[in-house]
Symmetry: C2
Subunit: 338 residues, 2 copies
C-alpha cells in the first residue's frame, strides 16, 4: 500500500479533470472533494471514482460547463435545476445556498433536480457543519436494490446525511439504504473475506455473508430489512416531489445510473438562532460523554460518535499520506498526463 | 380474540380519559388517535397504551390542561413549548401548525420541546398526508438501546416518520431506530416464537432471534447495526438543538421515560406548490407500479408500498371490528367505569 500526500493527490486529480475538459476553477473544487473523501477513508468515492467521473464526462453524461439555475422560490425554500452539471459542484452550491437562506431565516431548504452523481454524500454534511450549520440532505439514485419482498431490483440505495457542528469534531451520519455498498462487497470478495453480518441473499434466497453470491443476484439487503426499503422509497418520492425531478423509476429508463438526472434535497439550520453556544456545547458534550461512558460490548472495545472514525482516519492520512490502491493511483496519474 | 367496533372502542377510551381528568374535547381527540392506532394494526400504541397513559396522568407526569405556547418564530420555522401536556395533543397541534405555515410558504417547520410521549409516530404522518401535505417528523426518547459497540443502554429508539399524500393510499414510513420494539419482543416471547431475524444480543454477546434473552440484557439491535445507532444519535441531537429541549441523556435523569420532557420536529411541505397534480399522481403511481412489478422473493409473495399494510388492516378492522386482547379491553372498560 502506497501513501500519497494530500496536495500531491489533489494536484494530480485536478490535472486529470482539466484534461477531461473541466474549467480550472471547477476542476479545483472537484479535485478537492474527491481528495477529501479519500483523506477521510471513503476511498470508494474519492480517488477510486476519478476514472469513472471522467468516463461520464467523455460519454457526455455530465456537462462540465453547466451551472445550476433557479427554478422556483418560496422564501426559505428554493428549487434549482442542476442542468446535468458536475454533481459535486451542484450539491456544494445547493448546500451553501441552504446555509445562506438559514443565515437570515434560521432555516433554509434547497432542492435540486436534473443533477448528476454527488459522489460522497457526507461531503455536504461536513461542508455545512464546517460553516456552523446543522444539515440534512439526501439524494435519489437509479435502482440497485430489491424492495423488501422482491428479488429483482426496483429501488435506489438513496444515501441520507445528517450533520451537527461541534467544536471537538462534528457529528456526521452518512448512510446508504443498503446495508453494504457494492464497493464493500467487491473489496471483501477480493480479500476472500466474509462480511461482518449478512449482506444479502444468494440465488437460493438465503441470507449470506459471502459477497460473491450477493453480487451475482444483486439482492443486496436493505439497511434493517423492510425499514431501509421503506425509507429508500420515501426518500426517492419526497426528493422528487420537492424538486419536480425524476423518480428512481424514471432515472432507470435513461440507463445512465445516477447521472440520468437524479435529484437531491438540502436542509440547513442555524443552531445559534435557537440556542446559546453554551447550551449547544453542553448538549453535544453530554451526549458524547453518555456514549463514551457506556460499557463496551467487547474487551478494550471503543464506542465512537458518528463521524469520529472519519476524523481519526483523516488525522492519520494527513500525517502519513492518504492510502491508495496502486493500480488506481497509476491510472489517475495517466489520466493526468504523467 | 374479540373484535370491537371503532365507535365503541373510541367511546370507551374517551370515558376512561375523562375519568382520568382530561377535559372532554381533549379526551375526544386522544381517544380518537389511540383508537385509530389500534384500527391500523398498531395495537402496541393504541388500546394497549391507554392504561399506561392514565398512569402517567395519575403520577402527575402529564398535565391534562396544558397547551403548547410559542417560544420563538423564524418565519417558516416556529418553536413551541409543550408544557408537558398530553403528547398526542401537542404533536397534533405542531403538525397542524407546520401545514398551516406550509400553506403560505410551501414549507413549514415546527419544533416542540418539553412534551410527553406522542404514542404512535405514524399518526402525525397520516394527519399531514390526509390534509395533502408531505411530512417528516421525529421524536427523541429516553435511553432504551445500547449505542453500537456498547452493551449498556445509552441512546433512544427515536421513531422517525415520513409521509406522502396519495389518492389511492398514502405512502407512510414509521420506523423506530431499534430493529424490534420491546413490545414485539414481549408478544413474540409470549407466543413461544422466534423473531423473523436476530433482534439483539444475549448475555454472552451473541446475536439471537429468541426474544427472552434480549429482554434480559436490553441489548436490542439498532436498525441496520451501526447505522440505526448513528441515526438515533443524530435525530436526538438535532431535535434537541432545533427545539432548545432536553437531549436523551437529560431525559434519562428525570426517570419518567419519554414523559420526562422529550422533544420533536415536524416538517410539512405542500407538493402542489411545486408540482401539478398530474405530475404528482404520475410519480406516485409509476413508483408504486415499479414496486408491484418486481418479482416476489417467495412464491405468491407480495410487495407492499410503505403504509399499504396499515391500510389493509384498517379496512379489515373497520369491517369486522378492531382486534383486542381480552385482558387489555377489560381493564380499559374498568377504567371507563363499566
Amino acid at each position: 500500500m502506497t501513501r500519497i500526500a494530500f496536495d500531491q493527490m489533489m494536484d494530480t486529480v485536478k490535472k486529470a479533470f482539466v484534461l477531461a475538459g473541466l474549467p480550472e476553477a471547477k476542476a479545483d473544487v472537484c479535485a478537492q472533494v474527491h481528495t477529501e473523501s479519500s483523506r477521510d477513508g471513503i476511498y470508494s468515492h474519492g480517488l477510486n471514482r476519478v476514472e469513472r467521473f471522467i468516463d461520464y464526462i467523455s460519454k457526455g453524461w455530465v456537462d462540465v460547463n453547466a451551472e445550476p439555475t433557479l427554478v422556483n422560490n418560496f422564501g426559505s425554500f428554493e428549487i434549482y435545476n442542476g442542468n446535468l452539471g458536475p454533481g459535486i459542484l451542484n450539491a456544494r452550491f445547493a448546500m451553501n445556498r441552504a446555509t445562506e437562506i438559514a443565515e437570515n431565516n434560521g432555516l433554509g431548504m434547497v432542492s435540486l433536480n436534473n443533477t448528476t452523481h454527488w459522489m460522497r454524500g457526507g461531503s455536504y454534511g461536513w461542508q455545512a457543519a464546517d460553516k456552523g450549520y446543522i444539515a440534512i440532505c439526501w439524494t435519489n439514485t437509479e435502482s440497485c436494490m430489491p424492495a423488501w419482498g422482491a428479488k429483482t431490483i426496483g429501488i435506489g440505495n438513496n444515501p441520507f446525511v445528517m450533520a451537527v457542528p461541534r467544536k471537538n469534531g462534528h457529528l456526521v451520519l452518512d448512510m446508504a439504504m443498503s446495508q453494504y455498498s457494492y464497493g464493500k462487497l467487491q473489496v471483501t470478495r477480493l480479500k476472500n473475506e466474509k462480511l461482518p453480518f449478512p449482506g444479502g441473499f444468494d440465488k437460493d434466497g438465503n441470507l449470506t455473508d459471502i459477497p460473491g453470491p450477493i453480487e451475482e443476484t444483486m439482492r443486496i439487503l436493505p439497511t434493517g430489512y423492510w425499514k431501509g426499503s421503506g425509507f429508500a422509497i420515501l426518500l426517492d418520492v419526497i426528493s422528487t416531489l420537492l424538486s419536480n425531478g425524476l423518480a428512481t423509476c424514471s432515472i432507470d429508463k435513461a440507463g445512465k445510473g445516477s447521472c440520468g438526472s437524479c435529484n437531491q434535497v438540502f436542509i440547513a439550520i442555524d443552531p445559534l438562532k435557537i440556542n446559546s453556544q453554551e447550551f449547544i456545547d453542553n448538549v453535544l458534550e453530554s451526549t458524547v460523554q453518555q456514549l463514551k461512558s457506556s460499557v463496551p460490548a467487547t474487551e478494550n472495545g471503543k464506542i465512537y460518535y458518528p463521524g469520529e472514525q472519519s476524523l481519526l482516519t483523516r488525522k492519520t492520512n494527513l500525517e502519513l499520506g492518504i492510502s491508495v490502491d496502486d493500480g488506481v493511483w497509476e491510472r489517475v496519474k495517466q489520466l493526468a498526463g504523467h
